[in-house]
């Protein structure tokens, strides 16, 4: 970030779809991506005359769970309101949302930027319904026709509004990463930004360092990745600095991030603020949120990323940084713990996951759970290095082969075999030495104890530092002990 006489002020609005089976106000499936257009609709989510909404209690519970994970207060009384505006993806002409009595308010989220702890206030977490999707014939401005798909209309959507507490693009990115991890941990959202499951808008403004009043804010939309959030905010800071330094004034407006061109483009002016004519939704009675219910949800909260990070440090002796990165996404932490459970040394496992593996994944914008390399594969590879069967250099080559293969098994097996001792001459020497040193076991085997053979093979493997071909070893022991 460039040095500046301005302080950057960023607040984020994150929209997260809630992973429920059915929609917010009807029993239609939320699986809007796979279904044919308008297949998952009914009179309620189509907004047909006379239809009425019925609250999905699971979505309310997920919102409260999220709010609790973000240290929010849960008021005892809440209600839904109508947000009125006309748009073809909004079948009722209003969105059922929450205005002045949301399910929660006054929370916070902690994050770290290069080891520095940060905290951002959460203004509120409220619940609303998603809109449908439009498909324009060509660019929206010139389109002669548009198609409406209402499969997504009515999918439960949480809006998580932050305070304007973030001061850099780095902080904004970290905030969203941490928030995403929490949503994953508590099972309310998978955190897929590209599919729109998780969406982020940023309010960015500048003010002279030391000033109390906020500057004119610009709302930036259409950021579909962590990288986009970072780049878009950096871009806005430079753009706004240039306007202000040039003696100009900023316009309050909405700008869209164009990822390909790496810049923001003005979408609409907010000088004539939209009037959404909010009023209490008369079709839904206000909700009393009982303390017993809130406590039940709180007690069922799983271990959250911050607690897991602390545990990884204390239980496995990882550095705070490594633990922090590992817990930044739930699948990453699960992967790590599964490797350790299978027997991999913790530090080595962390190094592999955060090193080459992450580098390969990042280059392809993939997540660890998308890779064909499963924890047992990586654990076995580490085992080969630890037993001295293969060198570290060899392991890196093998890993790369494993990563690019549809099935990592053969590459792993090949590594095991290339370094194996299969020549009988060399193996015979080992077998003789083991028999000489373990006479009792040899006698036991001669007497018919099969377990004794397993012990002898184990000793031979140890002597060969894991490189002996176990099938040949078995054959040789059987030959020699008769």
């Amino acid at each position: 970030m460039i040095a500046t006489k301005y302080e950057v002020v960023v607040g984020l609005e994150v929209h997260a779809q809630i992973k429920t089976e059915s929609k917010m106000f009807c029993s239609c499936s939320t699986d809007y991506l796979a279904a044919p257009p308008n297949a998952n609709t009914c009179p309620v989510c189509l907004g047909l005359p006379g239809s009425l909404p019925v609250i999905n209690r699971k979505a309310v519970e997920a919102t409260i769970r999220t709010a609790l994970a973000l240290h929010c207060e849960i008021p005892e009384f809440s209600k839904f309101d109508r947000k009125n505006y006309f748009y073809p993806d909004l079948p009722k002409g209003y969105q059922i949302s929450q205005y002045d009595l949301p399910f929660s308010r006054n929370g916070y989220l902690e994050f770290e930027v290069r080891g520095e702890a940060g905290r951002c206030g959460i203004t509120r977490v409220h619940l609303e319904e998603d809109t449908g999707k439009l498909l324009h014939a060509g660019a929206i401005e010139q389109a002669q026709s548009s198609l409406i798909n209402l499969n997504r209309a009515g999918v439960p959507l949480m809006e998580i509004v932050s305070e304007p507490d973030l001061r850099t693009a780095d902080e904004a990115r970290e905030y969203v990463m941490r928030l995403r991890a929490i949503l994953q941990y508590i099972g309310v959202n998978d955190g897929n930004m590209e599919s729109g499951q998780l969406r982020c808008d940023a309010n960015v403004s500048l003010r002279p360092v030391g000033a109390r009043e906020f500057g004119t804010k610009v709302e930036v939309k259409n950021m579909n990745s962590f990288r986009a959030i970072h780049r878009a905010i950096e871009y806005e800071v430079v753009r706004q600095t240039e306007v202000l330094d040039g003696g100009g004034r900023l316009k309050q407006e909405t700008r869209g991030w164009n990822d390909a061109r790496g810049l923001t483009v003005s979408q609409r002016s907010k000088e004539f603020a939209e009037d959404y004519r909010y009023f209490p939704e008369p079709d839904l009675p206000p909700l009393a949120v009982s303390r017993a219910w809130v406590e039940k949800i709180r007690s069922a909260l799983p271990e959250l990323p911050a607690a897991r990070r602390d545990r990884l440090v204390s239980q496995f002796g990882l550095s705070a940084y490594d633990a922090s990165v590992l817990t930044s996404s739930k699948p990453l932490a699960e992967y790590f713990e599964e490797m350790v459970r299978l027997g991999a040394p913790a530090k080595t496992a962390a190094n592999w996951i955060l090193g080459d593996f992450s580098r390969f994944l990042n280059a392809e914008h993939k997540e660890i759970q998308d890779s064909a390399i499963k924890p047992q594969h990586l654990q076995q590879l580490i085992g080969l290095v630890d037993s001295g069967a293969i060198s570290g250099k060899m392991a890196k080559q093998t890993f790369e082969e494993m990563y690019h293969a549809a099935d990592p098994g053969p590459a792993l097996e090949a590594a095991r075999r290339t370094q194996q001792i299969s020549g009988d001459t060399e193996l015979e020497g080992i077998v003789d030495q083991v028999i000489a040193q373990n006479e009792k076991s040899a006698n036991d085997f001669r007497a018919g104890k099969q377990q004794a053979l397993m012990f002898l093979i184990g000793q031979a493997m140890k002597l060969s530092r894991g490189r002996a071909n176990p099938e040949r070893l078995t054959a040789l022991f059987r030959e020699k002990i008769t």
Partner: protein
């Protein structure tokens, strides 16, 4: 006496005694629709085939003697604001021309389960906004008692159908008097149940916090029977009440001896016709004779009910009617250069003047900067009206007044003056705002035109309103008068 002029109870007895079949009965009513329908315009659509099919099914049920309910085989008219699966629904609006709902309203489903016969969809003021039926987007309804006069509104088609023999009973909807006022003007019985008593699922919304579906019938017992069939909680309507539904016929004939009946002094409004006031005073004497004690009570905020109503109802309507943009169903104007222009053209052409007026009123009342002064204040007034009723019902069991300050007025008499039209509902509106129930029963004629008596009971005490109404009906002859179109009663 023609079948089409009889009551549900009489016809039910004739059906179960195999004196008549439902098909005969249905054909009798359809015949009357053919005979007088062009004079009343009570229907927007007659579902002849559906009705005869349902009548045959009802006859099967009666023949088998299984699942025979009080409404099995009885021909009923449905106000066009209620959705019947695969039958066009317009809510009296051009903007919904061609819309065919793929689902049944809960009340329709309940009547279908009873084995009722659906005659068709009755005419009404556009989106139930009006007191004369002249706001129908299609054609006005004419009063069967005098075809040059209005039948009241907005359920004017339903009321006219019952009064002319074009239905045995009908469903209407009441947001500010839309069942009771047309019942009064057509000499029928009409009840607005307590908000939450009857499901609104499938009722095309006008003002969601006030709308309520209710019966329009020939007498009080029929009203009880029809209410019984439609009342009760519905999982699809979160505003429907879990309050238990009593047996409305049970205790209907108990009378009013020892009951305390209150007369709100504010309900004798300025501009009330002398004949109407005289009829109400006459009714008080009847109740006194029947052993009730009459006392004057005060509902001090009655004068601000009308202005509060004309903020709350249009505000909710402005939002409820936003969905009519032509994009998914109904009429699309075509010719717009972009989506906003298309919306504007569709809504300009599709909505009538009164609907546009209320959308504008409501949009203004909800606008940022005006919300507190209008919508929020109106809601506070609503609370005061609820409290007025609560205080009154600490002292009395039921309240009594006129339903409408006037009898049916000539077509066109008030169309140029919206406020004069709004004043028709001045005595019915408080019951909608106050979360209580009300019924209108005939209480006399003025120059051959019916006058309605309104009885208001506390929330979820419909059985009290019915019992008080029935006592009056039993003690007087007013219910026997029939419109010219149906002929005089036997």
């Amino acid at each position: 006496m023609n079948l089409f002029s009889r009551s549900i109870r009489e016809l039910h007895q004739m059906l179960v005694d195999h004196e008549i079949s439902s098909v005969e009965l249905t054909e009798s009513v359809l015949g009357q629709i053919d005979a007088v329908g062009r004079q009343t315009h009570a229907y927007l659509a007659v579902t002849r085939d559906l009705a005869l099919r349902q009548a045959r099914d009802a006859d099967d049920r009666i023949r088998e003697g299984a699942r025979v309910r009080p409404l099995t085989g009885i021909p009923i008219a449905i106000k066009d604001v209620l959705c019947v699966e695969d039958v066009p629904a317009t809510a009296g609006s051009k903007i919904l021309d061609g819309f065919i709902p793929p689902y049944n309203a809960t009340v329709v489903e309940r009547l279908a389960k009873e084995g009722a016969v659906f005659l068709g969809k009755t005419n009404c003021d556009e989106f139930a906004m009006g007191s004369s039926n002249e706001n129908s987007g299609y054609r006005p309804v004419h009063n069967p008692w005098d075809l040059d006069r209005v039948p009241g509104g907005s359920s004017g088609g339903s009321a006219a159908a019952v009064a002319s023999g074009e239905a045995i009973a009908a469903l209407g909807s009441d947001t500010g008097g839309s069942i009771r006022q047309p019942a009064a003007l057509t000499g029928t019985v009409g009840m607005k149940p307590t908000y939450g008593r009857v499901s609104r699922y499938g009722l095309i919304a006008f003002a969601s916090s006030l709308d309520q579906v209710g019966p329009i019938t020939r007498d009080v017992a029929d009203c009880a029977i029809l209410l019984q069939a439609i009342a009760g909680a519905d999982a699809r309507d979160s505003t429907s009440s879990p309050h238990p539904v009593p047996d409305y016929l049970d205790g209907l004939e108990t009378g009013v001896h020892g009951m305390r009946i209150g007369v709100p002094k504010e309900y004798f409004v300025k501009g009330m016709e002398p004949a109407v006031e005289q009829a109400v005073r006459g009714a008080l004497e009847v109740y006194q004779r029947l052993g009730a004690t009459i006392e004057e009570v005060s509902l001090p905020h009655s004068d601000v009910a009308l202005p509060a109503y004309y903020i709350i109802a249009p505000a909710e309507a402005s939002s409820n009617l936003a969905r009519y943009d032509g994009a998914r169903y109904g009429v699309q104007a075509g010719g717009g250069h972009n989506v906003i222009e298309e919306y504007e053209l569709t809504r300009q052409q599709g909505f009538g003047a009164e609907v546009k007026r209320r959308i504008m009123l409501g949009t203004y009342a909800l606008s940022s900067g005006y919300y507190d002064a209008f919508y929020l204040k109106a809601q506070k007034v609503r609370t005061l009206i609820i409290e007025d009723f609560q205080r009154a019902f600490e002292k009395v069991d039921a309240l009594l007044g006129a339903t409408s300050p006037t009898v049916a007025f000539p077509l066109g008499a008030k169309t140029q003056d919206p406020v004069a039209m709004y004043l028709n509902d001045i005595i019915t509106i408080p019951a909608n705002l106050g979360n209580v129930c009300g019924i209108s029963v005939p209480c006399g004629l003025a120059d051959g035109l019916p006058i309605g008596l309104q009885i208001i009971a506390p929330g979820f005490r419909e059985e009290v309103a019915l019992r008080v109404a029935r006592a009056f009906e039993a003690a007087t002859d007013f219910n026997r008068a029939r419109s010219a179109l149906i002929g005089t009663a036997a």
